[in-house]
């Protein structure tokens, strides 16, 4: 499937949760399949931390560059683009095409950099709603995401109850735990204490806080895998014949983390990373309801599919069950899958017959 990224420009200012106002913004997006005449088959796919609007397919000039959820989305895939009109979007504050810290600040003519405001999940949904308007979609058949993307799928059902028929919430949590926030803070500190960070104004210095980004990514990767999956994948296998008794790479896992860190720091923006982790930390739909998640979900009208993975310790199944309980309290139409997959948080990206089979069946039952 050959796809073409597109951009939509919005000149109406967007007031953000934190109080700042984005005077104008762009959203990068891709679409797959055709919008039907009734405009009833649109599915919005929301991405997690480091992904983008490139959900499925590949580009004519870059056939190797497969979308991050290409196993899930496409012709004949669980989210079948022969039946659904699927939209991948890049949230604002990101560094893959939508307006973010690397974009030009219209007030100064220079990159926003450190001045780009902190955005929230609610802000992303507000911006995505503008994209939906732009594409002429009044109501989504489904909004779907994993991890941070799942928070957007949840928030859609809360911000725009009338506009979502099904909310598909995978590997989610209704709020970060202190431990989750702690990992994010270590990642942010790694970036902010990098001498090349310059308080976020590194673009004009012609440098990138790569060391900080590398460490941030290494920390992230530890939380994406289960202990068992990491042991299974890397064990205590050595990269060299005997231990070196020095600080070069001895173990496979060290090599893996360094490789992931290097790769990530070559394409990801540090200011974006700071803001995304803050969006994660702040997300808490129950906060305005005295911590009562059930009260927060009282306004939801969508049907829900919630999926968790038993080996996910970043957003454990017990967190998804909190969502399930809140939805049950509100008598929502709801199914919940707890997939006994070994990979940890990353399982939401991997093909598992039970998980993909359920998604395929669920989408198959969505009337158009």
């Amino acid at each position: 499937m050959i796809v073409t990224p597109q951009k939509a420009r919005f000149s109406e200012p967007l007031k953000l949760t934190g109080g700042a106002v984005l005077p104008e913004f762009e959203i990068a997006y891709e679409t797959y399949g055709e919008l039907n005449a009734a405009r009833s088959n649109a599915v919005l796919v929301c991405h997690a931390l480091n992904a983008s609007h490139h959900v499925a397919g590949s580009y004519a000039d870059d056939p190797e560059n497969l979308g991050w959820w290409d196993n899930m989305v496409g012709p004949g895939k669980p989210l079948d683009t022969n039946r659904f009109f699927v939209i991948g979007n890049n949230y604002i504050g990101s560094c893959f095409g939508s307006t973010g810290p690397t974009s030009t600040n219209p007030a100064t003519g220079k990159p926003w950099g450190a001045d780009f405001p902190v955005v929230t999940v609610e802000d992303w949904v507000a911006a995505q709603a503008r994209l939906a308007d732009h594409l002429g979609i009044e109501r989504f058949a489904a909004v779907m995401g994993g991890s941070l993307g799942a928070m957007q799928a949840l928030q859609w059902a809360l911000s725009h109850p009338q506009r979502v028929r099904h909310s598909i919430v995978i590997a989610a949590t209704p709020r970060l735990s202190a431990q989750n926030i702690a990992f994010n803070e270590v990642a942010r500190q790694a970036i902010m204490t990098d001498p090349d960070f310059h308080g976020g104004h590194y673009y004009e210095k012609g440098v990138v806080p790569r060391r900080g980004l590398r460490i941030a990514r290494m920390i992230g990767h530890i939380t994406y895998l289960s202990d068992d999956a990491m042991m299974e994948k890397f064990g205590r296998v050595l990269r060299r014949v005997t231990p070196g008794f020095d600080f070069d790479v001895d173990f496979e896992i060290e090599s893996y983390l360094r490789h992931q860190g290097d790769k990530f720091s070559s394409y990801f923006d540090a200011n974006t990373y700071l803001r995304i982790t803050k969006a994660l930390d702040y997300y808490d739909p129950a906060a305005d309801f005295g911590g009562d998640l059930s009260a927060a979900f009282a306004r939801a009208q969508a049907d829900f599919l919630v999926v968790s993975f038993t080996s996910d310790w970043r957003f454990a199944s017990s967190r998804s069950r909190q969502i399930v309980r809140a939805l049950l309290d509100n008598r929502r139409v709801l199914s919940y899958l707890e997939i006994d997959a070994p990979q940890g948080h990353d399982a939401f990206l991997l093909d598992d017959a039970r998980y993909f089979g359920a998604l395929r069946a669920y989408f198959g039952n969505i009337a158009l």
Partner: protein
Amino acid sequence: MTELETIARWVSPGARVLDLGCGDGTLLKHLWQTRQAPGYGVEIDDAKVLECIRNDVNVLQMDLEDGLSVFQDGSFQCVILSETLQAIHRQEPLLREMLRVGREAIVSFPNFGYWRARIQIALGGHMPVSKELPYQWYDTPNVHHCTLVDFEALCAKLGLRVLERVVLRDGHPVGVLPNLLGSLAIYRVSAQPR
């Protein structure tokens, strides 16, 4: 008369139901179609959960042995435990939980006091294998069999009131000597005092 029909008759139209160990969701689908009774199923088996989703039945993949803590007190008119009682390790807490979250419970189980089962043990000298109990003793999900007498004694112990009882054999109600002649027992119970 089948178990499905018996249960459907006991569920009032529009009642909210919870089906524990709901299998492929056949009962829930039937209750929705015939009684407009919305509800949820609880099932742990991956293949059965997938069938529920295919059947467009609300299913929650959870282990009944972990209790029913995700459900609020009194949130269902009727909680159903169909041919699952014998596969549960700890019946007492589950029955209490059922009547915490539901006003009434419907419980069905294969009657271990059925004469064929008795004969297989008494004369054959081996554990019963039958249509209702198709497993060998070493390869069965069932861990706690009981008879009508046993179940009613447990209800008495837990202070549960038996509202109705239907005992079946080959789809026919059994009126005489049900603990001997019935192979499947279906009870409707409540926690309300007499």
